[in-house]
Amino acid sequence: MELRSRIPDGPLEAKWERHRSGIKLVNPANKLKHHILVVGSGLAGASAAASLAELGYRVSCFCFQDSPRRAHSIAAQGGINAAKNYQNDGDSVFRLFYDTIKGGDFRSREANVYRLAEISARIIDQCTAQGVPFAREYGGLLANRSFGGVQVSRTFYARGQTGQQLLLGAYQALSRQIGIGTVTMYPRTEMLDLVVIDGRARGIITRDLVSGAVSAHAGDAVVLATGGYSNVYYLSTNAKGCNVTAIWRAHKRGAAFANPGFTQIHPTCIPQTGAHQSKLTLMSESLRNDGRIWVPKRQGDTRPPHQIPEEDRDYYLERLYPSYGNLAPRDIASRRAKDVCDEGRGVGPGGHGVYLDLRDAIARLGRRVIAERYGNLFEMYQRITGEDPFQVPMRIYPAPHYTMGGLWVDYNLMTTVDGLYAIGEANFSDHGANRLGASALMQGLADGYFILPYTIGDYLAQAKPVKVDPEHPAFHQIRGEVAERVRRLLAASGRTTVDAFHRELGRVMWDQCGMSRNATGLKEAMGRIGQLRDEFWRDVYVGGRGEELNQSLEHAGRVADFFEFAELMCQDALHREESCGCHFREEYQTPEGEAKRDDERFGYVAAWEFAGLGKEPVLHKEPLAFEAVHLAQRSYK
């Protein structure tokens, strides 16, 4: 396997434009002959499917939800970044690029990130034209807010439902194409394997979640827009259905997996209440604009928050990071919350929580303004906890939220398998070791609207894939393997439910491969995961039949893949003997407890090649060259 990043030559600012102008085009009449399979219907998938269909390609789009409108992008709350400089506060493409590179702790590719920043402004134009109801000023112009890790105000938002509104925009564009007949939509359909013929991705095997039918779909290219894998931790802010299956199966068929250990733990989530907990709920980071984070100065201070006077409160982020304060990046804010809780100063049941207090902002701006900015978040908090944030400060704790790692892709967003693309959270490309707030929506839409539709044409024009039939023996063989796996899962007649196994895996991953990691713990975790995986196949009970709606079976397939994937994640975290961004190795820290990078040894993207189950994966390194930015220790002090 060879990693060819295909980064264009020339100065950073000219790379994309030059590349785009040199890209091979597919003649409009020939586009009709090409069939593209898009898996996933979130921001990246829906925007790509709609845009490809507008260009004239035939598209099939698949999602496991009952409607493409429900993909998990819908849950993104806070906003989307764009270098519009509408606030006249000195923002620019370069600044957005630099903030993203720095926020990612210098572990992402300059060229990709610069392109992302360049495209960002057009995304806002596109979404506005679709009717996305962004927040506005009284004069009718677009409004902005600030987000973590930056000092300019460049985030566009639609109340606390930005992801929903952007997704509905893309969904509506997609729906229009489905109505015209250029996109065939397959809801309640899950991709269970990838079909590679002569080194090229030529199709997928799916299971219809209602009838259970396992089918083959052939095409000229396959686009995976299947999101991230935070659910490997069981408890995360992801939707219950989010899974690693599509990208893991692609990995097993030859796609390199990059930086799997880079997982973002979001600082502002509602703490867990008990063993029944099925997921964790995020409170938008935008609350950190007006909220102040604190814990009592003294251990074991059990006074209710309003009885703790100012001098007994430790606003630790403001104390440690005076210039960024409560807007320190996510990885830092999360780790510091863990530290103060580990010191015994956490609040709420079990001491796993810190206060996010809007008292001062309410006093300064008034209840009405705060309600307008965060009303729906406050209501959500109250429904879950039974407490009113206007009266009592919110309690928050970090939770797994986003995965920067994903399938390795080149500058064209193609994986190491020809004709197989990965876009959105499913790839690794833009966020390095830590993603800044309001950048996921930007990246998903940049990939789907403005990058993939160009770059996929370049491949199709050059590779000129000949038509394959889903009756080709390769499809038969892999469909057989998928059916056999379903049969095996159903035949296992153990005593333990899928959910119980998933929880146990999640516990191991959170403890050993979560917010902080060390070599001993990671090695232990790898051993434990192997044991659990064996136990899973021996002792799981799935129940029901394959030819019906069987949610236990769906879950079982996903958990089986998480068990295989989790080991790779630990392996990656173990091999990276440095701390960077979200990846905090306890052995490698500065005296102040900040992440200590080792650019000399680890200034690369780790791309892993699958070598067979139970075999050591093969590491490939893509060195990261920095021409426009100067490598520095991140400082938010």
């Binding site: 409108r69 134009d125 034209a129 109801p133 000023e137 015209i180 209602v210 439910t497």
Partner: protein
């Protein structure tokens, strides 16, 4: 706390359904309603019984996947709350709960509490969009939208497409769902060129799907987890009549015509 659940069990679309009683003990008031069903399903699996099928995904009240009728009310007793956000502290200890799927001809039951809401997607395809090809958009701030209009459009756009409005309506009408999208796009300057074709196309599809007519019960608004107002239905009616009696010729296809 203790609760008794009577859950609608229906093995398939063509098979008869029946309420099955489950008595649950040790339910924590901090549990969400769906977590209670999770616990019950774990118990059913442990006895090798078929677990209850129900749709759910984000569990934070935004994806619109979940939805069941609890004691006759879509999404249960709490105002402005989806089923996934409902917590057991909303119920008294010893409560007896009857749990059913959405019941509407246009939403056929697939299994237990899972229904097919594909009709909503087909209504959107019939006109619930603004035609704006990728790449053709003008600079965003070249278009001024009064804050009041943008806010009102956002109120309508908050719809999560869960279908509670249909389940709550004695006529199983989808008017609130359609009204929300027609109003969201119709309130914005970007939505004007297709305003007439949009409303005509969406209403025709709504009728074709077998949803009932609106007779102003207002149950939809009471059940809506996003509190979308029936004022938007008035807006829909106004837009519809304006479009139908408009002297302007209608486009042949609601999909815009560059097919």
């Amino acid at each position: 706390m203790r609760v008794t659940l009577h859950v609608w069990r229906q093995p398939g679309p063509e098979l008869a359904g029946v309420f099955v009683r489950y008595d649950m003990t040790d339910v924590s008031p901090d549990m969400s309603f769906l977590e209670t069903l999770d616990v019950l399903n774990q118990q059913l699996l442990a006895r090798k019984d078929d677990p209850i099928a129900f749709d759910h995904d984000c569990r934070e009240g935004i994806c619109g996947a979940c939805g069941m009728v609890i004691n006759g009310r879509p999404h249960g007793p709490q105002r402005a709350t989806t089923t996934c956000q409902l917590h057991m502290r909303s119920f008294a200890d010893g409560a007896e709960l009857w749990i059913e799927p959405w019941r509407a001809r246009a939403f056929p039951v697939i299994k237990d509490l899972v229904v097919d809401r594909g009709a909503f997607d087909r209504i959107i395809r019939a006109g619930g969009f603004i035609t704006a090809r990728t790449g053709s958009a003008p600079e965003a701030n070249s278009l001024l939208v009064p804050k009041r209009d943008a806010d009102l459009a956002m109120d309508a756009a908050a719809c999560i497409g869960c279908g509670a409005c249909v389940a709550a309506c004695p006529n199983a009408s989808a008017m609130l769902f359609v009204a929300a999208k027609v109003s969201h796009l119709g309130l914005l300057p970007q939505g004007q060129p297709e305003r007439a074709t949009r409303v005509v196309g969406m209403v025709a599809q709504m009728d074709a799907e077998g949803f009932g007519a609106c007779t102003n019960h207002g149950e939809c608004m009471a059940a809506c987890p996003k509190e979308i107002s029936i004022d938007f239905i008035a807006q829909l009616n106004r837009d519809y009549w304006k479009a139908v009696v408009s002297p302007k010729p209608q486009a042949a296809s609601a999909n815009g015509g560059d097919a």
